[in-house]
């Protein structure tokens, strides 16, 4: 890739890679949302509001999930590609 405009093949790969990264982030966000719902939200749904306990549980859950993501990333040599 040193100097010159990228070839068509390189461009396709770049677009493909960008797409995969976005899919990865969406997937991460969806799993995070699902997992923290499972861990924090009372399932009988007696109220339409999140109560204080649920709100602080969500904040901590997201924070810990983030740390696990980073920790696992380190273990894999900071390469998302396992």
């Amino acid at each position: 890739a040193a100097g010159g405009a990228p070839t068509n093949m390189q461009k396709e790969q770049m677009f493909g890679l960008a797409e995969k990264e976005m899919e990865y982030r969406v997937d991460l966000f969806n799993r995070l949302t699902y997992t923290c719902f499972e861990k924090c939200i009372e399932k009988r749904h007696k109220e339409a509001e999140l109560n204080m306990g649920e709100n602080s549980c969500i904040d901590r859950c997201v924070s810990k999930y983030w740390q696990v993501t980073n920790l696992v990333g380190q273990l894999l040599g900071n390469q998302p590609k396992m």
Partner: protein
């Protein structure tokens, strides 16, 4: 995953930027539709458990309403916290 794979797209011609924007639009549409399916599955599973009739009773219906509202609030809160962490905003314990 600290550094984005997308770093060097800024220098690209206008045509490629438009293509990238279109791709992002498409992924967001797909994501919204999946979220919608997710919400329905989740609230159905939590709120509907008897199958003696084929219409929702009042209790099930209001459970679904509350569940949907909570799900959306939950998603928004997760989204905010997630964005903060992505931008490296540190907050005390």
């Amino acid at each position: 995953m600290d550094k984005s794979m997308l770093g060097d797209l800024d220098g690209l011609p206008e045509e490629d930027k438009m293509r990238m924007a279109a791709m992002i639009d498409q992924l967001q549409i797909r994501d919204s539709l999946r979220m919608y399916n997710n919400l329905v599955e989740r609230c159905f599973t939590d709120c509907v458990d008897t199958f003696r009739r084929k219409t929702l009773d009042k209790q099930e219906e209001s459970c679904v309403r509350r569940c949907a509202e909570k799900f959306l609030k939950h998603s928004m809160r997760v989204g905010m916290r997630f964005a903060e962490l992505n931008q490296g905003v540190a907050t005390p314990d």
